[in-house]
């Protein structure tokens, strides 16, 4: 066994010993991945997993390194790029990925990608010509 393998084994024993907890949190991520376009919040997620919402928030952050809300936003932004590349309008894209306000979509998109949705779309379409 290499040094790397023995370290992996040792660390896994310490920080990843609770498989039930890991399964819960993986289930939550899968749920977000499959339902990012609907109205999601911690109430809904904790109800599905039968776990208190603050506990769920802490667990998610511990295992994935970001909060469920941040994860959901990243997922929606990533999906919105696909829509924009396929010539979907900014307004349609915004609602298709689950955002409820055009203003917050545009602001988030710009803060995550450095460009507004319309700038991103123009750039992508001119590139594919």
């Amino acid at each position: 066994m290499t040094f790397y393998e023995s370290e992996i084994k040792r660390i896994r024993g310490i920080i990843h010993s609770n498989q039930g907890q890991i399964d819960t949190i993986i289930g939550m991520r899968n749920y977000i991945d499959n339902n990012y376009d609907s109205h999601l919040n911690l109430e809904v997620l904790s109800h599905i997993q039968f776990v208190s919402k603050y506990h769920l928030l802490r667990l998610f952050k511990r295992y994935y390194g970001l909060t469920p809300r941040q994860y959901l936003i990243n997922k929606r932004i990533e999906k919105s790029k696909e829509h924009l590349r396929n010539r979907t309008t900014v307004t349609e894209t915004c609602f298709a990925v689950g955002f409820e306000s055009l203003g917050s979509f545009s602001t988030l998109f710009k803060s995550k990608t450095g460009k507004s949705p319309i700038e991103f779309q123009k750039e992508q379409l001119s590139r594919s010509k």
Binding site: T2, F3, Y4, E5, I8, I11, R12, I15, H16, I22, I25, I26, R29, Y63, Y64
Partner: protein, 131 residues
């Protein structure tokens, strides 16, 4: 500032180019001749061609500490570089069929699954799937 380059030290640039493109599926982006037969050789991922580039650099052949460090990582089984994949198991099977040697078979750890293989150019490379 932008992140554009991820350096991977290799013993043989041509051999590395073949392994990384033919087996791993990366695409060559830049190939500029430098002095002494060395090249500025970069690759991009097929799915993200505008994304960061891998620089296959011949450092171990020209700077002894680089070689020593690379050998020590290899000996310890430590991957210094990792790539994301959608499915670790299917990549493991695909690459095994192509003759790639794995030091860590598909292993779950918390919310990730990973493997480690030998890139034949002096490095252990890890593939990771987020579960």
């Amino acid at each position: 500032m932008k992140v554009t380059i991820i350096s991977i030290p290799v013993r043989d640039q041509e051999k590395a180019l073949q392994f990384y493109t033919e087996k791993l599926g990366f695409i060559k982006k830049l190939d500029k001749p430098l002095e002494g037969g060395n090249r500025w050789l970069t690759l991009v991922s097929k799915e993200a061609q505008e994304g960061p580039e891998i620089l296959l650099e011949p450092a171990p052949n020209h700077f002894e500490p680089s070689k020593v460090y690379q050998d020590a990582l290899m000996e310890a089984g430590i991957p210094y570089t990792q790539f994301d994949v959608d499915n670790v198991q299917s990549e493991y099977e695909r690459l095994t069929q192509l003759g790639v040697k794995f030091s860590v078979k598909p292993t779950k750890m918390g919310t990730v699954k990973f493997v480690v293989f030998n890139d034949t150019c002096g490095n252990n490379i890890q593939l990771v799937e987020t579960l």
